[in-house]
C-alpha cells in the first residue's frame, strides 16, 4: 500500500495507470466532465500546497493569492487581449511565480505559526488589490470568459476537448511533483521539515531551498487557478479570499498530509461535497465545511490516505 504514500514502486505505477484509465473513460460513462475537470484543477492546487506543507513543513495560509491571482490574470488576458489559452495560462503561472517570489522572500524570514500569519496577511493585501483594481470587475469578478483555441488551432469550447486538455496538464503536474519529491532536492526539503537546525548544520542553505519550494508551489497553485478559469468561464474574488486558502488546507488535510495521493483524494472529496451541498444546503455549506475542518483537526489528522497507510502498517506488524 506504500504506493499511496510514495507513488513510485510497481504497485504504485499500476494503481496510477488504473486511476488514469478511469479518468479517461469517465466522461464516456455518464460522469459530467466539467465536474471532474474542476476537481482536477483543485487537485493541482492541493498538490502544490502539499508540496509546501507536507514535504517542506511550511504552512502557507495565503495560497489563494496565487490560485486566484493567476485566475484573474488568465481571465483578463483571454477576455481583453484575446490571447490563446496556453499563453494566458503561462502568463498566469508566471505572475503566480513572481508573486510567490516576493511573498516568499518576506515570509521565510519567520517560522511556524508566524509564517502562516505573514502569508495570510500578504494574501489579504493582494485580495484587496484585486477588489480595487480597475480590470478585475470588483465584486462581480470576470465572467463569461471564452476558452478560445489551444495553440490557435484546437477549439476548447467543447467540454470533452477541455476535459482532456485539463487531464493532460494534470498528469504532467502529477509527474512533475512526483519527480520533485523523489529528487535529491525533494530529500533536502524533507530534511528541512524534519529538522531544520540539523539541515543548516549539514551545510544546506535552508532559506534558498525553502524559497524555491515556495515559488514552485506558488507557480503550480497558479496553474490550477488558470485552468479553473477555462473550466468554469470565470475568475472571482472568491478565488483569492482567505476562505479559499483555508479550503486548500482542508483538502490536503482531509486527503492526507504529506502523502502522494492525499491531496487528489481530498480535492475530489471537497469539490464533490461542495457541489452536492450547494443545491441542498445553500449558505449552510460554509458551516458544514467548518465542521468538517474542526472534526478533521481533532480526530482525523492523518486524513483518508494517512489512516489507510497507518491501518496497513498495523496489519503488517501483526502478521
Amino acid at each position: 500500500m506504500d504506493w499511496l504514500g510514495q507513488g513510485v514502486d510497481r504497485a504504485g505505477k499500476i494503481a496510477w495507470i488504473v486511476a488514469l484509465a478511469i479518468l479517461v473513460v469517465a466522461p464516456f460513462v455518464g460522469v459530467y466532465p466539467i465536474f471532474v475537470a474542476q476537481a482536477l484543477c483543485f487537485a493541482i492546487f492541493a498538490m502544490s500546497f502539499n508540496l509546501l506543507l507536507g514535504y517542506t513543513g511550511l504552512l502557507s495560509f495565503g495560497h489563494a493569492a496565487f490560485f486566484g491571482g493567476a485566475a484573474y490574470i488568465t481571465a483578463w488576458l483571454l477576455q481583453e487581449k484575446h490571447l490563446t489559452p496556453e499563453l494566458a495560462i503561462l502568463a498566469g503561472v508566471g505572475a503566480a511565480a513572481a508573486t510567490g517570489l516576493v511573498f516568499g522572500m518576506i515570509a521565510i524570514r519567520r517560522q511556524g505559526i508566524y509564517f502562516a500569519m505573514v502569508t495570510l496577511a500578504l494574501a489579504y493585501m493582494l485580495s484587496f488589490f484585486f477588489l480595487q483594481a480597475s480590470f478585475t470587475g470588483g465584486e462581480n469578478g470576470l465572467q463569461g470568459i471564452e476558452r478560445g483555441r489551444l495553440l490557435g488551432l484546437i477549439p476548447l469550447e467543447g467540454d470533452l476537448a477541455l476535459y482532456f486538455f485539463v487531464l493532460a496538464v494534470f498528469v504532467g503536474v502529477f509527474l512533475l511533483v512526483l519527480r520533485i519529491v523523489h529528487s535529491p532536492y525533494g530529500q533536502v526539503l524533507k530534511a528541512i521539515r524534519e529538522n531544520e537546525p540539523r539541515a543548516i548544520s549539514l551545510g544546506y542553505e535552508v532559506d534558498r531551498y525553502k524559497l524555491l519550494a515556495f515559488v514552485l508551489s506558488a507557480a503550480l497553485a497558479g496553474l490550477g487557478g488558470s485552468l479553473k478559469v477555462l473550466v468554469l468561464h470565470l475568475a472571482t474574488l472568491q478565488d483569492v479570499r482567505w476562505e479559499q486558502s483555508g479550503e486548500v488546507i482542508l483538502m490536503t488535510l482531509l486527503g492526507g498530509l504529506g502523502t502522494f495521493a492525499g491531496p487528489v483524494v481530498g480535492a475530489f472529496t471537497v469539490v464533490g461535497l461542495q457541489n452536492y451541498l450547494s443545491d441542498r444546503a445553500g449558505a449552510w455549506t460554509t458551516v458544514i465545511i467548518g465542521v468538517i475542518f474542526v472534526l478533521c483537526v481533532v480526530a482525523f489528522r492523518k486524513g483518508f490516505v494517512g489512516e489507510l497507510l497507518a491501518w496497513q502498517k498495523r496489519k503488517a506488524r501483526k502478521a
Binding site: 504552512l59 495560509f61 518576506i106 515570509a107 524570514r109 519567520r110 511556524g112 505559526i113 508566524y114 502562516a116 500569519m117 505573514v118 495570510l120 496577511a121 500578504l122 489579504y124 493585501m125 484587496f128 488589490f129 480595487q132 482567505w242 476562505e243 483555508g246 488546507i249 488535510l253 449558505a283 449552510w284 460554509t286 458551516v287 465545511i289 467548518g290 465542521v291 468538517i292 475542518f293 474542526v294 478533521c296 483537526v297 481533532v298 489528522r301
Partner: protein, 302 residues
C-alpha cells in the same frame, strides 16, 4: 483655518482620533491573542469571530431576544458585562471540548482548528442575519461631542480610547504585577513544575483562553456603536490584527498594546495624506519590519 501640510487641522485630528479608536481595537485584540498564545501556544483564529459575537450580543440585547418565552433586553452598559461573559463562556466550551486535545501537537493544528471554528460561527451568523450591516445607537450618556478647541471630539470615541487603555493596562497589571499573573507566567515557562506546586494548571489554561476570548467580546461590544455590526466584521479585522502581532511580536504584553495603538494612528495619518493606501499600510509596515527585524519590534524569538 489652520493647516498642516495642506490639510485642515480639524480633519487631521479627526482622522488621528479615528485611527486611535481603531488602534484601541487592535490593541485589545492583539493583547488577547498574545495572552492566549503565551500560555496555550495557540494562535486563536477564532478571535475575530469572538469579537463579532460580542458585538452581536450587544446588538441583540438592545433589540431584545426571546429565550424560552422570557423577553431579555439590556442596554449598552449591561452589554459591557454580558458580552464578555457570553463570549468567555463560549471560550470555556471551546477550550474544554476541542483545544485541550491539541496541546501536545504542532501549534499549527490550533490555528487550523480555530480557523474551522471561525468559519462555523461566521457561517451561522450569515445565515441568520445576512451580510448587511446593523447599526447600534450610541448610548445616551455618551452621545454628542466636546469641543476641545483644536478639534471636536465625539464623546463616544473618547470613551472607547479611554476604556481600552484602562482595559489594556488592567490586563498588563494583572499579568505582570499580581500573584495570579506570576502563576500564569510560570505556567508559560514550565507547566509541569507549576502543577507540582499544587496549582490547577488545566483550569488556569481554560480560564486564560476564556479571558482572552472575553477581551475580544468586550472589544466587540465597544465597537458596536462605531461600526456596522456584520457577521464579517471579525474576519476582516483579525487579519489586520495578525499583521499587528507579527510587527509587534507576541512576546510582550506592553509591546502588543503599543504596536496596536501606534499602527492605528499610522493608518489614520495615511488616510489623511494618501487615502488609497490606508487599508494596506499595515501590511507594508509588516513587510518592512520583517526585512529589518524578523523577530518583530518587541519580539524575543531565537
Amino acid at each position: 483655518m489652520t493647516e498642516v501640510f495642506g490639510v485642515p487641522i480639524q480633519a487631521l485630528f479627526g482622522q488621528l482620533m479615528l485611527g486611535l479608536v481603531n488602534g484601541s481595537f487592535y490593541a485589545m485584540l492583539s493583547l488577547g491573542l498574545a495572552v492566549i498564545f503565551g500560555l496555550l501556544g495557540v494562535v486563536n483564529f477564532a478571535h475575530g469571530a469572538m469579537y463579532m459575537l460580542g458585538a452581536y450580543v450587544a446588538w441583540l440585547g438592545l433589540d431584545g431576544i426571546d429565550v424560552h418565552g422570557m423577553h431579555i433586553q439590556f442596554n449598552f452598559w449591561v452589554a459591557l458585562l454580558v458580552g464578555p461573559l457570553v463570549v468567555g463562556l463560549v471560550g470555556v466550551v471551546v477550550e474544554k471540548l476541542l483545544l485541550k486535545r491539541l496541546y501536545k501537537l504542532d501549534p499549527l493544528y490550533g490555528l487550523l482548528l480555530t480557523f474551522g471554528l471561525a468559519l462555523i460561527v461566521q457561517g451561522v451568523f450569515l445565515q441568520y442575519y445576512g451580510s448587511s450591516g446593523q447599526s447600534y445607537d450610541t448610548p445616551e450618556a455618551l452621545s454628542g461631542a466636546t469641543n476641545l478647541g483644536f478639534m471636536i471630539l465625539p464623546n463616544y470615541r473618547g470613551f472607547v480610547v479611554a476604556a481600552s487603555l484602562v482595559i489594556c493596562f488592567g490586563t498588563w497589571f494583572l499579568i505582570e504585577r499580581t500573584r495570579l499573573g506570576s502563576l500564569l507566567r510560570a505556567g508559560t515557562e514550565n507547566p509541569a513544575l507549576v502543577q507540582a506546586f499544587g496549582v490547577n494548571v488545566p483550569l488556569m489554561v481554560t480560564l486564560t483562553y476564556a479571558g482572552g476570548a472575553a477581551l475580544a467580546g468586550l472589544a466587540g461590544v465597544l465597537a458596536a456603536p462605531v461600526i456596522q455590526v456584520t457577521p464579517l466584521m471579525g474576519s476582516n479585522l483579525i487579519i489586520v490584527v495578525f499583521a499587528v502581532v507579527v510587527i509587534g511580536g507576541m512576546g510582550s504584553i506592553i509591546g502588543s498594546i503599543v504596536t496596536g495603538l501606534v499602527l492605528g494612528l499610522v493608518e489614520g495619518l495615511t488616510r489623511v495624506f494618501y487615502p488609497e493606501a490606508s487599508n494596506v499600510v499595515v501590511f507594508f509596515i509588516m513587510a518592512i519590519v520583517l526585512m529589518i527585524r524578523p523577530a518583530g519590534l518587541f519580539g524575543r524569538e531565537k
